[in-house]
Amino acid sequence: MSADRNNDANNATSATKNNDAHERARQLIALAGTEELTGADNSSFDAKSSNAWLAEHLRTCASCRGFAENAGETIRGLRAIPIAAGRSLVSATQASVRRRALELQRQRERLWLVSVSCTAVTVCALLSTVALWRGFEWLGAQAGLAPMIWQIGFVVFCVTPALVAGVLLLLRGTHLADHSGSYQG
């Protein structure tokens, strides 16, 4: 009874080992494709021993040999299926890529223009601030005003345009604006 159980266990272990061997062989075949085991690790000991092991296994296992033949056929079949891009597709793609390239170039040019304008405005603002400061100082002295008064006047003069623009922009999104966004006053 015990001997029978031992035999069963041995048979099961042997079957599992066999299945593992087939699985390993098929994986090696699938990865190698129609060539020998290739890849960066071809020269490594592992790849060489795997090759040798696979060759040995294929000599004795008809089922895996069949799998190898089928895999080879499948891979050859895969390579033989021709799917080609049509001339019109290629031309249309090239045209749309060129069009998009032109758009991007124009965008870049616009961005460059905006950057240059911003820089010019900043420089002009700095220069005019200095000139205006001197002007307000001179006016204050002429009118005999306290420095605090003409300095407040200078700040109001500089800030007012920005405040007005800000308020107008805010009004565009309120009940004062119609659906087209224009100010209704």
Binding site: R26, Q27, A30, L31, G33, G39, A40, F67, N70, A71, E73, T74, I75, G77, L78, R79, A80, I81, P82, I83, A84, A85, L89, V90, A92, T93, Q94, S96, V97, R98, R100, A101, L104, Q105
Partner: protein, 197 residues
């Protein structure tokens, strides 16, 4: 042999560097040349990935527009084809997400006609018919494979990519790539033996 390999490696690295430089400049002539060079490979990959020729052609165009726009992201340490296929793959996934939030599986089984297998080269009428029949079987089998397996098979056996390159394109571990190739080939076996079309 080593000198030859070294020569090819250097020339490929130089080519990648030239492409990266041209893409940063958005050189339209370079892009024209690349479109010509990779037209069949990219379309074939997209046809197998999506299973639909029309969609593949749309994605083909979008891929090159994306290459133009994101060309500065190409790292010349890698081959251009690996990056190109990754871009195309991302577009295909984006398309599927827009259509229905799903994985790459969504590219399958749309109930639409899939691979169109045109007649192959010149051989005897019998050989041609036999080969065509076999190709039809394989193409039909591909149609029934999950997109991930199909993609792995195309990249490995049609594009001749290394396992590492495939892992780079698909962004999965090497073990997963190996398993997909194995399962894909195993899945095609019954079709080669003549499973019903």
């Amino acid at each position: 042999m080593n000198a030859t390999a070294c020569y090819f490696e250097n020339s490929m690295a130089q080519e990648s560097t030239d492409i990266a430089r041209g893409l940063r400049r958005r050189d339209p002539d370079l892009l024209d040349r690349l479109i010509e060079q990779y037209q069949h490979r990219l379309l074939r990959y997209l046809v197998y990935l999506t299973g639909r020729r029309e969609l593949a052609e749309d994605l083909f165009q979008e891929t090159w527009i994306r290459v133009l726009e994101r060309g500065h992201q190409f790292n010349d340490k890698y081959t251009f084809s690996t990056w190109l296929f990754a871009v195309a793959r991302n577009l295909a996934i984006d398309y599927m997400r827009r259509k229905q939030p799903a994985s790459l599986d969504g590219l399958l089984n749309d109930g639409e006609a899939a691979f169109d297998v045109p007649a192959t080269g010149q051989a005897s009428a019998f050989d041609m018919s036999l080969r065509r029949e076999q190709n039809e079987h394989i193409a039909a089998g591909m149609e029934h494979l999950p997109a991930e397996y199909r993609e792995a098979l195309v990249l490995r056996f049609q594009e001749g990519m290394s396992l590492e390159e495939i892992a780079g394109v698909t962004r999965v571990p090497l073990g997963t790539v190996k398993s997909r190739i194995y399962r894909g080939l195993s899945g095609l076996e019954p079709w080669l033996k003549g499973a019903p079309l």
